[in-house]
């Protein structure tokens, strides 16, 4: 009997009793749908996280100060600690750098245009900040080097901060009182959104020198001086990342008078952060996949059980087929083909349910879902294997029936 005839007979048998077939497939449908949804949800989460990280600005190197355990005395030491002038040194002495930015933050009450806002995030930056952070100026300008050097009391507003204070009117040229200092608004940033938990639109940007002078608590200012926590370095070309990192390390070792064995700073890249995140989520994803895999296994057991019931109910039919000449192999192959067909059809339905479920979930919840095509192959392939594996025992039982007994069966 040719292959297509085998499948025709098996297909007929399956469609003859649609309800039983559906119940048999249910385990596989749920298992496959579960695998697909689980994978798409965790892939979506991974994508969200890596988007957040790259949303900080691309091609970034983070140079962060290692604060040692010691108290204020360690801040006084002549060697060690990242300082403000390191940023300039990096910008000027290292090739392949397209921008260097330093930030220092504070929190102040702002009064302007008869509006008072408390606990507003104030960020002191250098002039490269927009470049390094991929932000654009919507109106007015960002401050320049002269203004930074002269500690000019100017401010650039984030998009939603400008709205909160000035509504629709143009803030450029207006004055604000930040804490006890009067600042002139010289620009407004374009909408940027929330990245990595920070709302860029709700901040006020001002020269870092102004923050050092006016918005840093005095006791810290005495000790910290011009020490900074973090320097952002934007690399011009992704490929020269490693080269730039080496240059920065050598430069800072020299400037800080430290050795490579015990540096007082750490360099990390976005890739490092992404890699850490990825390995965490990858571990999580594989755990979820195992759980979904177990449900697929359960689906296979379901197939086996229902097929055993099916074989018992069709004992007479098997006897009839044998009496007109069906061999043991014929019967076995027929039931195996049925199991395989059930798994394949169940797998396809599960695929559909998983796809629709993933899209619905992404639309309805705040979490993102990403369809991963390889998960289709994985889920579908395992469904087929499960069908053959768990269909084998019932198929064998059917094939071993004695025709005389089978014909007598009520």
């Amino acid at each position: 009997m040719k292959l297509h005839e085998v499948f025709r007979i098996s297909w007929d048998a399956i469609t003859k009793n649609k309800i039983r077939s559906l119940l048999t497939m249910l385990g596989i449908i749920i298992g496959v749908a579960a695998v697909i949804m689980v994978v798409s949800i965790s892939a979506g989460t991974e994508a969200t996280i890596s988007d957040q990280i790259t949303g900080l600005g691309s091609n970034l190197i983070f140079v962060s100060a290692n604060f040692t355990r010691g108290g204020p005395e360690s801040f006084r030491s002549t060697s060690g600690g990242l300082v403000f002038s390191d940023a300039d040194a990096i910008a000027q002495q290292i090739s392949g750098v397209s921008g260097v930015a330093v930030e220092q933050d504070a929190s102040e009450t702002i009064k302007g245009n008869n509006v008072t806002l408390t606990d507003v995030s104030v960020l002191g930056t250098t002039i490269d900040f927009p470049t390094v952070r991929d932000m654009k100026v919507a109106s007015g300008t960002y401050f320049d080097q002269t203004e930074v050097d002269h500690k000019e009391k100017v401010a650039v507003l984030g998009y939603s901060l400008a709205q909160s204070l000035f509504g629709d009117s143009d803030p450029v040229g207006q004055y604000l009182t930040v804490g006890t200092t009067k600042l002139a608004v010289i620009g407004v940033m374009a909408k940027r959104g929330t990245v990595g938990g920070t709302d860029f639109d709700a901040r006020l940007y001002t020269p870092i020198t102004v923050v050092f002078q006016k918005f840093t608590p005095s006791q810290f200012a005495r000790f910290l001086g011009d020490r900074v926590r973090l320097i952002y370095v934007k690399v011009a070309n992704q490929k020269s990342m490693n080269d730039v990192i080496t240059q920065v390390q050598l430069l800072l070792y020299r400037r800080h008078n430290v050795t490579a064995a015990s540096p007082d700073f750490t360099i990390t890249t976005q890739q490092d952060i992404i890699t850490t995140q990825e390995s965490t989520t990858a571990a999580f994803r594989s755990l979820l996949a195992w759980v979904a895999g177990v449900s697929l296994l359960v689906g296979g057991i379901g197939i086996m059980n229902i097929m055993l019931v099916s074989v018992t109910e069709r004992t007479r039919e098997i006897g009839i087929r044998q009496s007109v000449g069906a061999t043991t192999d014929d019967i076995r192959i027929q039931f195996l083909a049925e199991a395989l067909l059930l798994s394949i059809v169940g797998g396809l339905i599960g695929l559909l349910v998983g796809l629709v479920g993933s899209m619905l979930f992404g639309a309805v919840s705040s979490m993102r879902t990403v369809i991963v095509p390889t998960s289709f192959l994985l889920a579908f392939g395992s469904a087929a294997l499960v069908g053959i594996f768990f269909g084998y025992y019932p198929a064998n039982r059917a094939a071993q029936l004695d025709p005389i007994e089978a014909l007598r069966y009520e």
Partner: protein, 244 residues
């Protein structure tokens, strides 16, 4: 009528179980049935007639003795070979019709053709259907070929079963109590059909406990306790039986 022997058994014995629990269902049956004969095997329950029928129908093997079917010794064939014999040489008709449920009459009649794997045979789906249709016409059910068993009366179902038994041109028909589940009217119809088929040259063996059915045949072989008790010759006039 040809005198070729279709069935020949020599000292057929069948034992079920082992040791103290063993049962001797057949105790040495030797018989011959010629081509074109219409024979009944009769006996009360326990006489071994079902066991004999199963062996003649190649559904089981004898414990001892020989069974030669159509000049081939089938006594010790393996399961696969027996299946092929059942497919090509034997047509069964059962008391309970034994049609596949939820399957059309046409597909039921086609069933033996599906499992026919003779060397060099290349039958297409269309050809199988044509053969099946022809058989259904022969038994007078051409207009019911798309009906399923639950849509047919007992008599009609049995006619489908007979068509199925004939479709692959077997050397003999074995009918086990073919009218057992039918009322007297339908029963008579079926016996008429068997007479017709016999007239066209078929070899038919009916297994029954009912002497009135056995009387339709040319020869009745009576079994008792696993042995042939007596043989009656009933005359050979099919026309006399086809009164309606």
């Amino acid at each position: 009528m040809s005198k070729q022997t279709i069935i020949e058994t020599q000292n057929l014995t069948k034992v079920f179980g082992t040791g103290d629990a063993s049962v001797k269902a057949l105790n040495g049956i030797s018989l011959k049935i010629g081509s074109g004969e219409f024979v009944a095997i009769m006996g009360p329950s326990g006489s071994g007639k079902s066991t004999l029928m199963h062996i003649l129908g190649c559904l089981s093997r004898p414990t001892e003795g020989t069974y030669i079917l159509d000049n081939q010794d089938v006594s010790n064939l393996d399961n696969k070979e027996l299946a092929a014999i059942r497919n090509q040489k034997i047509g069964f008709v059962f008391q309970a019709y034994n049609l596949l449920p939820r399957t059309s009459a046409l597909q039921n009649v086609e069933l033996p053709l599906v499992y026919d794997r003779r060397e060099g045979l290349h039958r297409t789906q269309g050809e199988s259907e044509t053969l099946a249709r022809a058989m259904l016409e022969k038994v007078g059910l051409a207009d019911r070929m798309d009906h399923q068993p639950q849509e047919l009366s007992g008599g009609q179902q049995q006619r489908v079963a007979i068509a199925r038994a004939l479709v692959n041109q077997p050397v003999m028909i074995i009918a086990d109590e073919p009218t057992g589940n039918l009322d007297s009217h339908s029963g008579a119809e079926i016996m008429n059909l068997l007479h017709e088929i016999h007239q066209q040259g078929a070899t038919i063996v009916i297994v029954t406990h009912d002497p009135k059915i056995a009387a339709h045949t040319q020869r009745t072989i009576e079994l008792r306790d696993g042995l042939i008790d007596k043989v009656n010759h009933n005359g050979n006039n099919d026309e006399q039986w086809k009164r309606h």
